[in-house]
């Protein structure tokens, strides 16, 4: 089974529904040590992604690139740009595989996303950011079964595993006592979106 533009569009539709439900919850998580905008920013980004015709894209690469561009136009926030970076990574992977990306490739693709996000954001695994979610998801998908439920479980596990660690990046690093014991808003967003996708699948 090869990933199609329609699959990507379905994923975006799910994310759209999830983020609309979780917007305030994610804002509240960010307000703990950040500026309280993670939910609203992601909502704007996913709204913009949902507006373009992803299902009708000529190729998987075009579908993913369209999403990256929509994200990049909508926001200048860190996480928004990292979302765009991840989408662009998928586009690149699709291009070099000539569109032939299957479920079995997803572990590798998510690992590439993790590395691209780390390079863009100059953060590392262990810093308690979306990088750690991507890292856990990549490993779980490699082990299999390579499906959304596996990804969702890995994201949830990563959230639990990092909750009691301090954040080591950006503004939050200055308040280890406040980030320890609280969810990182970016990691939380990934977990909520994937959980929603699984539940409604």
């Amino acid at each position: 089974m090869t990933l199609t533009p329609k699959d990507v569009a379905a994923f975006v539709a799910n994310a759209h529904a999830a983020i609309h439900e979780e917007e305030q919850h994610l804002n509240a998580a960010d307000a703990n040590v950040g500026d309280g905008d993670t939910g609203s920013m992601l909502r704007r980004v996913v709204d913009a992604m949902a507006k373009i015709d992803t299902a009708g894209a000529a190729s998987l690469a075009d579908a993913a690139m369209g999403l990256a561009q929509a994200a990049m136009k909508e926001t200048g926030s860190s996480l928004g740009t990292l979302v765009a970076t991840a989408a662009m990574t998928l586009a690149k992977a699709a291009k070099s595989a000539d569109g032939d990306i299957g479920a079995g490739d997803m572990g590798r693709v998510v690992a590439e996303m993790r590395d691209a996000v780390a390079a863009r954001g100059k953060a590392a695994p262990g810093d308690k950011t979306v990088i750690d979610s991507l890292d856990a998801i990549a490993a779980a998908l490699d082990e299999g079964p390579a499906n959304r439920a596996t990804a969702a479980r890995a994201a949830a596990d990563a959230l639990d595993a990092f909750r009691d660690k301090p954040c080591r990046i950006g503004r939050a690093r200055m308040f280890p006592e406040r980030s320890t014991g609280a969810d990182d808003p970016g990691m939380l967003a990934i977990a909520r979106v994937l959980n929603h996708a699984t539940v409604t699948q």
């Binding site: 500026d35 309280g36 990049m72 136009k73 200048g76 740009t81």
Partner: protein, 333 residues
């Protein structure tokens, strides 16, 4: 923190419309619609200077686009970095064939977006270099100086970079002297009261009616200490002491001081601060050159002030005093 606005979602678009209508020397454009550049672009072959940042800091960032200063500015939402598209637009608008220096404050989102835009610009054969404003001594220890955020000191870097480019230096030389200027510049801020972002219901931080916070950033980032409001002279002394401890300028150095208001602090009180700072600089055997006192980098209606110092050498002094003109600042013209 009441606001004169229409739909908060249109705040940035409307202020930009008003800005370019009042200042025909600035034009708004780019694919993002969020790039301000000079209506009369610089001559071919001049190194371009592009900047960018969130809205809510006027005259920063876009107000410094002009002769002998910036060529373009990418504009973000309030307190949010510019998008990659806007950053790319700004790089393209600044490019006159000799490469573009991207000069902006050290914030995660801004850096990622300009980096990404820079990579895209390379595909258009535009060479870019980056210098970051990292002047805020309160945002990280000296050992981690590269993690420091950029605040009001960036205005002084604009002046140096813009003058070096106007002189006809090449991209490497412009970047090098701007790096030197950045290394010679430090800032620290003090906040008395918060502001409110138009789309938010609440102020961006809370502080008691009798308190101040030393070292707070221009988005309300936490500072070094929070305590009872002190006298202007005590505040001036602490800001100056912290900057001098870091800069450690050689006896009888010439320095450019910038006493900046964050928004709601009356000019009167900036002059009261300056009175002390100027006297203290002279007592320390330093020579203040062309002090800048006013609202150069704000945080909407936040009240408070910041002090920046740039220690001059001959080259920096000549670049700082070269003619320049933009809507909110003029030098020698």
């Amino acid at each position: 923190m009441k606001k004169l606005l229409n739909d908060p979602a249109n705040y940035v678009a409307e202020l930009l419309e008003g800005l370019v209508s009042a200042h025909p020397e600035l034009s708004l454009g780019g694919e993002s619609g969020r790039c301000v550049s000079r209506t009369d672009p610089a001559a071919d072959g001049k190194v371009g200077i592009a900047t960018g940042g969130g809205s809510g800091h006027l005259p920063l960032f876009t107000g410094y686009v002009g002769d002998g200063l910036l060529d373009s500015c990418a504009i973000g939402n309030i307190f949010e970095g510019p998008s990659v598209q806007a950053s790319l637009d700004a790089i393209r608008a600044a490019n006159r064939g000799a490469g573009v220096l991207c000069l902006y404050g050290n914030y995660g989102g801004d850096r990622m977006n300009f980096d990404m835009a820079g990579e895209m610009a390379h595909m258009d054969d535009i060479t870019t270099r980056t210098v970051l404003g990292t002047d805020d001594v309160a945002s990280a220890a000296p050992e981690e100086a590269e993690k420091r955020r950029g605040v009001a000191g960036i205005v002084l870097l604009y002046k140096v970079a813009g003058a070096a480019a106007a002189e006809g230096r090449d991209l490497d030389a412009v970047a090098a002297v701007t790096e030197k200027a950045a290394a010679a510049t430090r800032s620290i801020g003090v906040a008395l009261s918060p502001c409110r972002v138009p789309t938010a219901q609440a102020p961006n931080f809370e502080i008691a009616d009798t308190e101040m916070e030393m070292g707070m950033g221009i988005h309300g980032e936490p500072g070094i200490w929070r305590a009872e409001l002190q006298s202007a002279d005590a505040v001036a002394d602490e800001m100056l002491d912290r900057l001098l401890a870091e800069l450690d300028p050689p006896k009888s150095s010439r320095v450019v001081p910038l006493v900046n208001g964050l928004g709601a602090t009356p000019l009167e009180e900036l002059f009261i601060l300056w009175r002390r700072i100027g006297a203290r600089l002279c007592d320390a055997g330093l020579k203040p050159v062309s002090p800048l006192i006013g609202n150069f980098v704000t945080s909407m209606e936040m009240s408070g002030a910041s002090l920046s110092l740039m220690v001059l050498d001959e080259e920096l002094e000549s670049l700082m005093s070269a003619p320049a003109r933009c809507p909110f600042w003029r030098v020698g013209l």
